[in-house]
Symmetry: C2
Subunit: 553 residues, 2 copies
């Protein structure tokens, strides 16, 4: 059961992606609802307080019955007339939906090694059809990645991050089959596409490709060139993503970009958007206590009566665990673990204070199923902890007999599954080393600490182009995004933002979906909710974003 | 998952029976091997050092090819000539084997509510056929028990304890189907019967019935009258056994007995027998920590990133657990828990010292898969701990995500499965109360302590007739039993030895078997190992025991 970070090993659980994470303060409940039936796919998602005054301006498009966003043009200096592009988006709507359906109908699940190569090939074809000229498969020790470029003859080049894999499914839990990609009417929301990958991440990605098709259909070249990297292992913790990004030709091409962008459906049901200037790092690991390694206790399960004269590896694990945190389980107590924690800056604290003012604490607690923050701190303090504190969390305990009732054994082995969330300037390697040294110093050196996945924190400056352009476009449609210093979850942006690339990296996109990692995952195709955009409006937002990026220095 | 002691509730794991337990110092490895494939059914079982000189005297019977023990008659004053009985045992050998096979071929598994009524009815018929006159089914809130009497017109009456249920099976793990009751040649051992219940407990019980048939066949009446109680829930912790024993007519009949006896296959592979003057009590329970009960932490699983600002029921459980034991996990630290522990008497210490001299420490450790006793104590001290110390053992830990790899959740619930072994004068009720009070006093009152089964310790005086008669018969065949103050495991003898009955209770029987609770459970039918008796020899030992009891005051 113990796992180490090995080439080709897969971790069936995602370490944490920002996809869907912005649905709540830090992470979508859908991420942990996998396997639960009847997860509400929509209405329960509006966790954030609506702005006191709805200042959003939505203009209806020319085609009756289609909610189409026409972004006001006045915000962008030297604005081209994009109405031919908007017309192409509408004209090609059905084609764009069909493209997304085809993509979803091809399962590609790294955790099950299912359809990944087929999914990779299909994605490569979709990229070629959208105008990418050089599209190559990048082998890794695990599933292949994709490296693709589109030279639009533009002065500037944008990096793109795609994933083509999706999370596992239990079809019995779905009201519409996960690979059918059926269009379903959802009351109050409109026409949605239900399928695995609908929002995480094929929906937004396909919508971005639809934007490229529309540009070409309108006779335009994209306003920026593209360098795209894609992986097929995002849902298992991106174990081989560095092998893709740091290939010489890929890294060299990425060095020529001014930042990295991932298409995203950022809108909550009330239309609100939260932006994150980075994400925590993570170490996922198992602590394994065994009689064999310890040299005490039994090497195989014994009758429990022997506890009177034989040491217990399960108690040994429990005693080791208690040394890792404060007595209330809330403060990390691993020696040296927090030494490199960089405190929040005044600017970051101001972001948190602003977010605390704008978010609804009662609603957040209700949606999370929580009555108290740790230490009963205020909402603002809880948000500060969320964005700034490293954690030591127990994901799972499993040892000895775990079935119904009891079984009279003294187990020879017990395991705690932990995840550690890291903030700058901690690193995954240093956190793991600190944990191991801590255990060894306290007489628990025999307990294995087997890391199964993880990576460093990622940070992107607020004044980087990818962030500023996103903010500008959101504000142009009267969405004032909440901005937080970082996501409390994790995504592998460190590959871009860390050395040697040191590029800014961010997410952007209007549109709405939900159910990542859960049953009935969906993406809104035609919105009847005036707060959120459908697929065409999301495509428009990508076009706007690209033009904005082209002129953001 | 939480369980309380409720009428009709079943606990699918046995709390601990002495059947097979004498196979080691305290408990058979087979008890914890259930579910493991290829458990060695025999050769690995000889854990105890062979006596330096083999003084056992075995006389071959008249029938060629059948190892038949003719017990020397000189030991028993006023001995009848039992040779007609011995002849009947041999004559009825095939009939006795067929009876055992029929019994085993009827599964009766309380944990699965499978065939229990049929098993009860069959057992009642077998008792009638063996000469019991009044055989009645005793309803309980769970599975029915049996109350039966046999009036032989003898001056004294013996109590008998039978169980008719058996442990669950996974047929795929068996080399011979568990319900086939096939006769198999086992190299070095002889002809064995393989099947669920073969040794635990139908084999010894059927052999005892064979002894009654032989007595009748030889025109003898049993030298004692019988009052028998049987239950069909031994393997789930005997939750309703008190309802059987304390029925007025049953309790009244039992009051007329001088002690309780359970047929048993007491011989190790080297022929040695260990006797126990009682057994520890036990409390099996689950400690359940949940956000819902606690009022802190989440009420359902959350994304793990929230650990930064949300309390963790899993850490809460770990912190509670550490308060229950000393820092090395070895000494109970539950307040008040050990207050009523009665220290070993000088006589009991002498028994342990004698056992330590006669047992092979190295072999015991090897068989247990253990290199060190707690605190690196001596063998004698380890045996003292085993028989005299109460325990707090972790049987299992189960919380949050327990599958392969990790899952980034903050679990809302975590469970520790514990068993507490109790020594006189502790009681199960007081132990549970002490645990609950301890947790409440330390801020863990929200953690549920759900007892799923258990009972008080049991003790029988060394000078009681059931013990003295057993010792006499063993010694008569040159077996010098090791005697220990108590079994470190548990059996529900307290129902007999506690108030109001206060009867001595013990096990006796030559013969050998193994694999209780494990695959390929067996009982030796025809022994080719000169150390152990087959079914006929075991039947002879029961006849001898009854005559010995008849004259032991």
């Amino acid at each position: 059961m113990s796992k180490r970070m090995e080439p080709g090993r897969t971790n069936p659980e995602q370490v944490g992606t920002p996809t869907g994470l912005s649905r709540t303060l830090a992470a979508s409940a859908s991420e942990v609802n996998e396997g639960h039936k009847n997860t509400d796919g929509g209405e329960s998602e509006s966790r954030l307080r609506r702005p006191p005054v709805d200042r959003r301006v939505f203009l209806q498009g020319a085609v009756a019955g289609v909610a189409a966003l026409a972004l006001p043009r006045q915000g962008r200096a030297g604005a081209d007339d994009l109405s031919p592009v908007w017309a192409e988006i509408e004209k090609r709507h059905d084609e764009a939906v069909a493209r997304l359906q085809e993509w979803i109908q091809q399962p590609s699940i790294a955790a099950e090694n299912r359809g990944v190569n087929e999914g990779c090939d299909l994605t490569m074809r979709l990229l070629r059809e959208a105008g990418f000229e050089k599209v190559t498969k990048v082998p890794t020790d695990g599933q292949p990645g994709i490296f693709a470029t589109l030279d639009a003859g533009a002065p500037r080049t944008l990096g793109l991050y795609f994933m083509y894999d999706v999370k596992q499914v239990d079809p019995s839990e779905w009201s519409s089959p996960p690979w059918a990609a059926a269009l379903v009417d959802k009351p109050g929301l409109g026409k949605i596409l239900v399928g695995r990958g609908a929002v995480n991440q094929k929906g937004p990605e396909a919508t971005f490709l639809a934007a490229l098709h529309a540009l070409r259909g309108a006779g335009r070249k994209p306003p920026v060139n593209f360098v795209l990297v894609a992986e097929g292992e995002e849902e298992i913790g991106s174990p081989h993503f560095p092998q893709i990004v740091h290939r010489p030709e890929v890294e060299s091409a990425l060095k020529g970009t001014f930042g990295i962008f991932m298409p995203f459906a950022a809108q909550d049901l009330d239309g609100r958007v939260t932006m994150y200037l980075g994400a925590k790092g993570v170490v996922e690991l198992e602590l394994v206590s065994s009689g064999e390694r310890w040299g005490r206790g039994p090497r195989r399960d014994l009758h429990s009566s022997y506890k009177a004269c034989v040491d217990s590896p399960a108690w040994h694990l429990v005693e080791a665990l208690t040394t890792l945190v404060s007595a209330d389980g809330n403060e990390p107590a691993i020696e040296g673990y927090v030494d490199k924690v960089r405190p929040l800056s005044a600017a970051e604290k101001a972001m948190v204070a602003e977010a605390a003012r704008r978010l609804d604490e009662g609603l957040a607690k209700k949606q999370m199923g929580v009555d108290h923050w740790v230490h009963d701190v205020s909402f603002e303090e809880s948000l500060e902890l969320l964005v700034s504190r490293p954690t030591v969390n127990i994901e799972g305990l499993v040892g000895g007999y775990t079935g119904p009732g009891g079984k009279t054994i003294l187990p020879h082995r017990a395991v705690a599954k932990l995840d550690l969330r890291l903030v700058p300037d901690m690193t995954a390697a240093e956190a793991l080393a600190a944990l191991k040294a801590h255990l060894a110093k306290r007489g628990f050196g025999d307990i294995e600490a087997n890391m199964s996945g993880g990576y460093d924190p990622t940070s992107t400056p607020a004044d980087s182009a990818v962030i500023r352009a996103a903010t500008s476009v959101y504000r142009r449609v009267q969405i004032d995004p909440i901005i937080l210093p970082r996501l409390a979850g994790s995504w592998p942006g460190y590959v871009f933002t860390g050395p040697p690339l040191r590029l800014p990296a961010g997410h952007f996109g209007l549109g709405h979906g939900n159910g990542a990692h859960a049953p009935d995952e969906y993406y809104v195709i035609e919105s009847k909710n005036s707060n959120v955009q459908g697929m065409d409006g999301a495509a428009r937002s990508y076009v706007e974003y690209l033009y904005e990026l082209a002129q953001t220095s």
